[in-house]
């Protein structure tokens, strides 16, 4: 290769690392820290052979395989806790490292090009390929560090059955998994001409890789081997320690990178190989309404949260089926079950899940109202208020959207949970029960909307107070019982007041009261918003 093409790469490596140093340190601490902490905790989770067999049983149901990969033979879980750790953690750790690599490469290729930083660099005596080469070196280096830290760290935990070779292999799966997605991102950065496009393509590739692997792992192993994630979970690490997936990853990364470098060397700055998509030159009728526009601005967020909540619901739903199987053999739990009466352990578990999931669903709902604050700060509400749109119309649309969202999230939650439970349980829980236990939380979500609107309507500077209240509700839901909070204190959390279904009776008075509170809060909030100065 012509050396002038990569002149100055060393300097650029330093610049890129410096630019991302805090972010990279945070990722490293997060990934390495969580991996090591979880690995060391596994020693004490499943002690007896019985527990380990039960764990193996759980992990082998198709939903778990689709989610976490194929795992090991049942008896291999008895050999070392490393296998349990690898089965539960490996795939999602690889995905985390891949996300880190995609973000790093995406921003040090296209983002830097979009903002004109690469233009400045290229005007200096620096080679045409130097910036991309430096970016590749940085992402390779970071993934190497992850490999070594986790490899050495795991060994130092002195867990029975984890050899030095196997711990380094585990680290290498993470490192090469990250590197291959970093390389793919570098390639996409040559195709798309925006950083959003680049990261979008790369995350798309990651999701497709995950789905192919999931389908392949459940049905057809050949199919799973098409996906980099598919071969990442086939090293049989801690048992056989196959290295071939590592070699394939490195080889494939190399090929993809050669393509990326080649394309980078022949393209103009700021251009990409994918044809630019022309946007619409005129607006469709639905975005010309206030509500339609406000929905469009938040559409991506709504879709993403819906998918996320559906997936969480499905994950819990899959476990719900296993609860039954697992506890069926457990005499102690059987005894407890008989004491509670009509309701099965599954149903009690369901109420607990709904309590937590409704809290999670409140996050995007609150964010929708707070979006109006960010629009005001970014001088975009002036487009409404300098035209014939009233404040009630704008805040009303945001509130309506938040209410619609609250219904959507609880519905997809119920749907995900019920669908997964349907495939897993011998005696599936009825859809009506699940929906009811989810939707009962609607008034609570509306109170959250009401409080947010109230604060925003009067003192937009302190809207973050809503997150304090939210955190309080979360603490009450999680550890309120454990920490023996007095009842009055627990009842400050609106989620605590809501009757828990199935199990408790529907207390109509309480529900109507909560609903009334939310309406009053909204009413006062709207009044305040109408009276106050708008910043922009």
């Amino acid at each position: 290769m012509n050396l002038t093409l990569i002149k100055g790469t060393g300097q650029l490596v330093k610049i890129i690392i410096r630019q991302h140093r805090f972010q990279l340190i945070a990722w490293l601490i997060g990934i390495v820290g969580v991996s090591l902490a979880v690995a060391s905790s596994y020693q004490s989770i499943y002690q007896t052979a019985n527990d380990k067999t039960a764990f193996a049983l759980t992990m082998q149901n198709p939903a778990m395989v689709a989610m976490l990969g194929p795992g090991y033979d049942a008896k291999e879980y008895l050999v070392t806790v490393g296998t349990q750790f690898a089965h539960e953690m490996l795939l999602f750790s690889v995905i985390a490292v891949a996300i880190m690599s995609i973000l790093l490469v995406g921003s040090s290729t296209r983002t830097d090009e979009e903002t004109g930083r690469i233009e400045v660099i290229r005007s200096l005596p620096v080679g045409r390929l130097s910036y991309l080469a430096a970016c590749i070196i940085v992402v390779g280096f970071v993934n190497l560090i992850i490999t070594l830290l986790i490899g050495v760290g795991l060994r130092l935990l002195n867990i029975e059955g984890i050899t030095f070779e196997s711990s380094i292999l585990y680290g290498a799966i993470l490192g090469t998994g990250g590197f291959i997605f970093g390389s793919i991102t570098a390639f996409f950065a040559q195709l798309s001409d925006t950083s959003r496009g680049t990261k979008g393509l790369a995350f798309g590739a990651l999701i497709i890789a995950y789905l192919i692997r999931a389908v392949g792992d459940v049905g057809n192993e050949q199919l799973a081997l098409i996906s980099p994630l598919g071969w990442s979970v086939r090293t049989d690490v801690f048992i056989e320690n196959y290295w071939w997936p590592i070699n394939i990853s490195i080889l494939l990364s190399g090929v993809v990178l050669i393509f990326a470098l080649y394309l980078n060397s022949i393209r103009d700055i700021d251009s990409g190989f994918l044809p630019k998509r022309k946007g619409k030159t005129s607006a469709s009728p639905y975005i010309m309404t206030t509500f339609g526009l406000i929905y469009l601005i938040q559409r991506t967020k709504i879709v993403a949260w819906s998918i996320g909540i559906f997936a969480l619901g499905a994950a819990f739903g899959a476990v719900l089926g296993d609860m039954e199987k697992y506890f069926a053999d457990n005499e102690f739990v059987q005894m407890m079950l008989s004491q509670v009466g009509d309701f099965s352990i599954t149903e009690q578990f369901l109420t607990m899940l709904m309590g937590i999931m409704s809290l999670i669903s409140a996050i995007p709902v609150i964010m929708t109202i707070l979006k109006l604050k960010s629009e005001e700060i970014h001088n975009r509400t002036e487009h409404f208020y300098s035209r014939s749109i009233s404040r009630n119309q704008v805040l009303g649309s945001y509130t309506l959207l938040a209410i619609v969202e609250s219904i959507i999230y609880l519905m997809v939650l119920a749907l995900g949970l019920w669908l997964a439970a349907l495939t897993m349980m011998d005696d599936p829980i009825s859809f009506g029960t699940v929906v009811q236990s989810a939707l009962i939380y609607l008034p609570a979500l509306w109170v959250m909307i009401g409080i947010t609107v109230l604060i925003f309507g009067f003192v937009p500077k302190i809207t973050s107070v809503i997150w304090l209240y939210y955190a309080f509700c979360y603490v009450v839901a999680y550890v309120g019982g454990m920490l023996k909070f007095p009842d009055w204190m627990k009842n400050v959390s609106v989620f605590e007041v809501i009757p828990k279904l199935p199990g408790e009776e529907i207390n109509v008075i309480v529900l109507v009261l909560v609903l009334a509170i939310s309406i009053v809060l909204l009413f006062i909030g709207f009044f305040g918003y109408k009276k106050r100065d708008i910043v922009g």
């Binding site: 946007g279 005129s282 975005i287 409404f384 208020y385 035209r387």
Partner: protein, 305 residues
């Protein structure tokens, strides 16, 4: 006749800080009203009060005879506003944003929209995140001129535009004026204000310090002169009404207070005038004079204490 805009004794306070102090402003039908002042003087605050986004602490603000705060939505059916820095939604295209803006007012003209897109040379198919500042500004301008308003408010509308587009903007403003509509133009670009505006207000630190037509204002100020005489002029810097004397290549350039113009010309003519160029003060001269006065007053005040 009802004045289009009638502002009386407008004061706005943010906490203890007085942003606007006793502002008076009258804009008539068919008038282009220039609004100039340094950054932070209160131009945008005044405009936001006119738009009913900020509430006046005291004073009366009426547009079309209606209250700017209470009847904002009603008033805005007849108002087109262009902010100085149009922040647009990054995931919408320029064409979509223009349509949305027209729909929000409710009386846009589709043909006029397309014609303006052409005149301002805008590619409406790009996402707003990809537009430069000048192009975002064009989107706001197109939406304003394509709407059938009675009163146009521009807050530094041409920042980021190239000189060609600046001219297109000025043409559009004159067309609007010819249709008998009124314009409030707040601007830093004094040549633009000079070219377009009949009436001008200068605002400083929340107070309007000068209002009037350009010729009225000029009357109160100095004329720029460049002279060359046959016999050398004796030093005359000390004469009353003479300022900023510069000797260059045998020519003398200086400024004269309007009321002293007669006596100074008489004095110079005794030395045999070879060349005499006079130019009226530019708005920039006026503006700077106000600004410099303020500074010298401030520094004198400082010394006094």
């Amino acid at each position: 006749m009802v004045n289009l805009v009638e502002v009386k004794g407008l004061t706005k306070k943010f906490g203890k800080f007085t942003a606007l102090n006793n502002i008076q402003m009258t804009i008539n039908e068919g008038e282009i009203y220039g609004f100039i002042g340094p950054n932070g003087a209160g131009k945008s605050t005044t405009i936001r009060i006119l738009l009913g986004m900020l509430k006046a602490t005291s004073g009366e603000v009426k547009i079309f005879g209606k209250d700017a705060w209470k009847d904002a939505v009603e008033i805005h059916k007849q108002i087109a506003y262009v902010p100085g820095d149009a922040n647009l939604w990054p995931n919408l295209t320029g064409g979509e944003v223009i349509d949305i803006f027209l729909k929000m007012r409710g009386n846009g003209n589709k043909n006029r929209r397309d014609e303006l897109i052409e005149r301002f040379n805008l590619d409406p198919s790009k996402k707003c995140r990809a537009y430069s500042k000048g192009n975002r500004q064009k989107i706001a301008l197109i939406s304003a001129f394509a709407s059938e308003a009675q009163f146009y408010i521009f807050d530094e509308p041409t920042s980021g535009l190239d000189p060609l587009m600046e001219r297109t903007f000025q043409q559009c403003v004159l067309e609007v004026k010819n249709e008998g509509k009124s314009v409030l133009l707040s601007s830093h670009i004094l040549s633009e204000v000079e070219k377009l505006c009949e009436k001008i207000s200068i605002i400083r630190e929340g107070k309007i310090i000068e209002t009037g037509t350009l010729s009225e204002m000029r009357h109160l100020t100095r004329t720029n002169l460049i002279v060359k005489t046959i016999k050398p002029l004796p030093p005359f810097e000390t004469k009353q009404g003479v300022h900023n004397v510069n000797y260059e290549n045998g020519e003398i350039s200086f400024q004269v207070d309007s009321e002293e113009l007669d006596s100074i010309i008489k004095f110079i003519s005794e030395f045999g005038i070879q060349k005499l160029e006079s130019s009226p003060p530019t708005l920039e001269d006026l503006f700077l004079r106000h600004y410099e006065n303020a500074k010298s007053i401030a520094s004198n005040g400082g010394k006094g204490q």
